[in-house]
């Protein structure tokens, strides 16, 4: 009821899929996004695709940021994206980072995952990318039906959800 509540806050989920224990990057990002004024749900390490998708749904986040350095991304990312689709979640920005080899980037982007930032990415570019790419209008749109497969598509417009667009930020950046 205070003035502070009557505003649109960007809410993001920072998730560590799989058994990967490298959580420094995820924690640094969580803090940076908080300092940029966002509400960051951090769920810790060892997240299954179900945990990630459920958290994203219940928290109604604008973006999911997956950090993975273990090399298991191609086993985990498709499961996360499938599950999102099955639940009708079509308006959430999904981005990833960590150790993602260049040769995997096209496949990752084909899944609809954007960003794909590697070691050495400046925090500001992550913040800017999130701000520029969350679907800010999603709260004013009718929610697509569960399953998202039937009925009229009230979800993201084709251009937005494709995620295959080249130059989606620092694709394949592997400085350091």
């Amino acid at each position: 009821m205070t003035e502070q509540t009557a505003e649109r806050k960007i809410r993001v989920l920072v998730a560590k899929p799989g058994l990967d224990g490298h959580d420094r990057g995820a924690k640094v990002i969580a803090r940076a996004l908080r300092d940029a004024g966002m509400e960051v749900i951090y769920t810790g390490i060892r997240q299954t695709p179900t945990m990630i998708v459920e958290a994203a749904i219940q928290e109604d986040v604008d973006a999911i940021l997956m950090s993975i350095l273990s090399g298991a991304h191609m086993a985990l990312f498709p499961k996360v994206m499938d599950s999102l689709r099955q639940n009708g979640v079509d308006d959430v920005l999904v981005l990833a980072g960590g150790i993602l080899p260049d040769e995997d980037i096209p496949a990752i982007e084909a899944l609809g995952i954007r960003g794909n930032f590697g070691p050495g990415t400046p925090m500001q570019s992550i913040i800017d990318f999130v701000r520029a790419n969350v679907h800010t209008e999603r709260l004013t749109r009718a929610l697509s039906p569960l399953g998202g497969l039937s009925g009229e598509s009230s979800g993201a417009t084709p251009g937005e959800s494709a995620g295959t667009s080249a130059g989606a930020g620092a694709s394949g950046q592997t400085a350091g």
């Binding site: 205070t2 908080r34 300092d35 810790g44 109604d60 639940n87 709260l139």
Partner: protein, 317 residues
């Protein structure tokens, strides 16, 4: 409204979206809440408060598991502080609760306090209202955990659990300074550490000093738990069920609800008046009155009377 129907039908995404609209104070939230209010009133609303690190989130997770064994559907609202500098927040209570993910009968929502003091966010009660309409049997609220000032939870919950840990002299101090009165149940968590019995004894002693306790007809039980492994959690669930029964049978549930409804209506009226005032008085005009008061050309009482007249209220100047 379609979204209301979807919430009532148990659609988690619709519920999550409604919560966001409530949190943001979106224009459509009011009508949604009005419709949802008529469908609620069945949930047992439980608050958990206590210092950061006492084990609230861990304990809530274990309690949810126990309530699931008792075939309840459970909602959780976990509040963490917003940064006063950036307005951002890291909401970390879910770290402990993620093992519950995937159970369709559990819904967990993290909230940032967004500038509110008192341990909750301004919209927490409305978020609980939405979960209540969505037919969760128990709704657990975890407060920020700042200690002494967390009396807001009394206005949001029916049963308040105060979580302490052994060997924290300061904690007991905080309890003395106000939390004692709000507790319906005490938990001494981390009972795997030395000193749990002593802390329980201190609590018992403090309670015996509380002169209003007799009027309330309820003697808060003191329960030792090890949230880390779930020990004592069935006893906690039993105590909550007892308190819920006590509230209903003693008539205190009705009176708590009456107080809560009254304070909500008052808060809304306050807000409506303030909104009208803000619309009626330009900031410059406001500033000028403040200046006059500082310069002692007028006084705060007269200034308030002048402003009140602008929205048609006659206040003694």
């Amino acid at each position: 409204m379609e979204i209301v129907d979807r919430v009532l039908a148990g659609d988690r995404r619709a519920l999550a979206r409604v919560v966001t609209l409530i949190e943001n104070g979106a224009p459509e939230a009011r009508a949604i809440l009005a419709a949802l209010h008529l469908r609620g009133g069945h949930a047992h609303i439980v608050g958990f408060t206590g210092s950061p690190g006492a084990g609230k989130s861990t304990l809530v997770t274990q309690l949810v598991r126990e309530l699931r064994r008792r075939e309840q559907r459970v909602g959780v609202v976990a509040v963490d502080p917003s940064s006063p500098f950036t307005g951002g927040a890291i909401l970390g209570d879910r770290i402990r609760m993620q093992e519950l993910a995937g159970d369709p009968n559990v819904f967990i929502r993290s909230m940032a306090s967004r500038g509110s003091l008192g341990g909750l966010a301004a919209s927490t009660r409305d978020v609980v209202r939405a979960l209540d309409a969505a037919s969760y049997d128990t709704i657990v609220i975890e407060t920020v955990g700042a200690g002494q000032a967390e009396v807001e939870i009394v206005r949001a919950a029916q049963s308040v659990v105060v979580v302490t840990v052994p060997g924290m002299g300061d904690d007991i101090q905080a309890i003395k300074a106000g939390i004692l009165e709000i507790a319906d149940i005490f938990v001494v968590n981390k009972a795997d550490r030395p000193g749990a019995d002593q802390t329980a004894a201190e609590l018992r002693m403090l309670m015996s000093l509380d002169t209003h306790r007799a009027e309330r007809q309820w003697k808060p039980p003191i329960i030792k738990t090890i949230a880390a492994n779930g020990e004592g959690v069935p006893a906690l669930a039993d105590a909550l069920a007892n308190h819920q029964r006590f509230l209903a049978e003693s008539g205190q549930l009705a009176s708590r609800r009456g107080q809560q409804a009254r304070s909500e209506i008052l808060a809304l009226l306050n807000q409506a008046l303030l909104d009208r005032l803000r619309a009626a008085v330009a900031p410059a005009e406001w500033d000028q009155l403040v200046e006059e008061v500082i310069a002692r050309r007028t006084d705060p009482y007269s200034a308030a009377a002048i402003l009140a007249r602008r929205v048609g209220l006659n206040v003694e100047g």
